[in-house]
């Protein structure tokens, strides 16, 4: 499944990144991270460069999903502290929702 490949690729990338400056690595990871807290995606709009991998982490007691509006990526239910990653190759604006709580909407902007 593509999601598993992406998770392994991200893990490999994370190990590689940690060989460089920890601060730079941390900044890089931070810039492509979204947290889910209090029924919100934070940030609600995240801008990344093409080829970046975005990682979501659920910090809520409730499960959430990352479900793209156009069917491009679907995480399935994430329990507390579970993560999901997706690599965005092409420029564009990718809207997504939580399919369990559809009032939660956000976007990834790739440019």
């Amino acid at each position: 499944m593509p999601a598993n490949l992406i998770r392994s690729a991200f893990a490999a990338g994370a190990i590689a990144a940690s060989l460089f400056s920890p601060l730079a690595a941390a900044n890089a990871r931070q810039a492509s991270a979204v947290v889910i807290k209090n029924f919100d995606f934070a940030p609600m709009s995240l801008t990344v460069k093409p080829g970046a991998t975005v990682t979501w982490k659920n910090l809520d007691g409730e499960p959430h999903t990352i479900t793209s509006a156009d069917g491009l990526f679907r995480s399935g239910a994430l329990d507390t502290n579970e993560t999901y990653s997706f690599k965005f190759d092409r420029p564009g604006t990718y809207k997504y929702v939580c399919s369990i709580h559809p009032r939660m909407t956000a976007a990834i902007v790739v440019k």
């Binding site: 499960p63 509006a69 399935g76 239910a77 559809p102 909407t105």
Partner: protein, 297 residues
């Protein structure tokens, strides 16, 4: 776990709503006796897989709810589950839920999914197990003793930022399904999310439910049963009674009380009184159903 304490009997007659509180005895048989002779029992929001503070043992509270239903002297003809069978749509959660539900003496079970049941990436786990009745569409109808039961699904194909949604295909099907029925046929509609606007800010409503309700207005007795909000709220509109159910898993806050509709942690000795099942009888001599709630304690 001990069961029995205040239960609520709702007697509905011609649109006049009369809540009566009964004190139950401390064992299942007395509590079950208050559940009367139901046509069916509604179980909802079992959330198998949930394990946080609000209830670390949802399997235990479901098993207790099943014990309560099994203690009814005249068993219901069938059981409906109004969704959120599981918490994360995981296969092991569905397996555990089905195993527990198979302990019901009333072996006929009809389900509709909650949003927690279609949260897997392919939205297929629920339908693999429960999809046959609806041809994997999620909506279907069946009849018992002249009562027309309609299961609807309003937790898929959400519009972003929106409420529950039935969608045009389902509404078309519903129109055709109901057209064949005479207005004197008692109708029971069950779906996970409320089919009326309880608290839109928390998603407690269905955006296109008005179209479904319009199709139901010509019937003399309509009962709309929902789950999702983990508490009892009711409304009577002419011949239509709207009713939501307690969960067997955990309570949620009252509308607008607190930051969101998440699990509500209460003192351990209070939990059982906020969980429960609903017994439903359909009376022929009056337009409305008799709905009896039994809390776990």
């Amino acid at each position: 776990m001990a069961f029995g304490s205040a239960g609520t009997l709702f007697a509905l007659s011609g649109g006049v709503f009369t809540p009566i509180d009964l004190a139950f005895a401390a064992d299942n048989r007395e509590a079950a006796a208050r559940l009367g002779t139901p046509l069916f029992v509604q179980i909802s929001d079992t959330h198998i897989g949930f394990n946080k503070d609000a209830n670390p043992d949802v399997r235990g509270t479901l098993a207790g709810s099943i014990d309560l239903v099994n203690a009814i002297a005249h068993q219901p003809e069938f059981i409906i589950h109004t969704g959120d069978i599981t918490h994360l749509s995981r296969p092991a959660e569905f397996d555990a839920a089905q195993q527990l539900l198979s302990g019901l003496k009333a072996s006929e079970l009809h389900t509709v999914p909650g949003e927690h049941d279609v949260a897997d990436a392919t939205q297929s786990e629920y339908f693999q197990r429960f999809g046959r009745a609806s041809g994997n569409r999620g909506y279907y109808s069946f009849d018992h003793r002249g009562v027309h039961m309609v299961g609807l699904v309003n937790v898929m194909n959400f519009k972003p930022g929106g409420l529950g949604i039935l969608g045009d295909d389902q509404l078309k099907w519903l129109a055709t399904d109901l057209a064949a029925r005479t207005p004197s046929t008692p109708v029971v509609v069950f779906a996970h999310m409320p089919l009326w606007s309880i608290y839109d800010a928390w998603g407690w409503g269905t955006g296109d439910a008005d179209q479904a309700i319009a199709l139901l207005r010509r019937f003399g007795s309509v009962t709309v049963l929902n789950g999702h909000i983990h508490q009892i709220v009711q409304k009577v509109e002419g011949n239509i009674t709207f009713y939501t159910a307690r969960a067997t898993a955990y309570p949620q806050p009252a509308p607008g009380v607190g930051p969101g509709p998440g699990p509500l942690t209460v003192p351990a000795d209070k939990l059982a009184s906020m969980l429960g099942v609903t017994s439903v009888s359909i009376r022929r001599d009056q337009p409305a159903a008799i709905l009896i709630d039994a809390p776990l304690s």
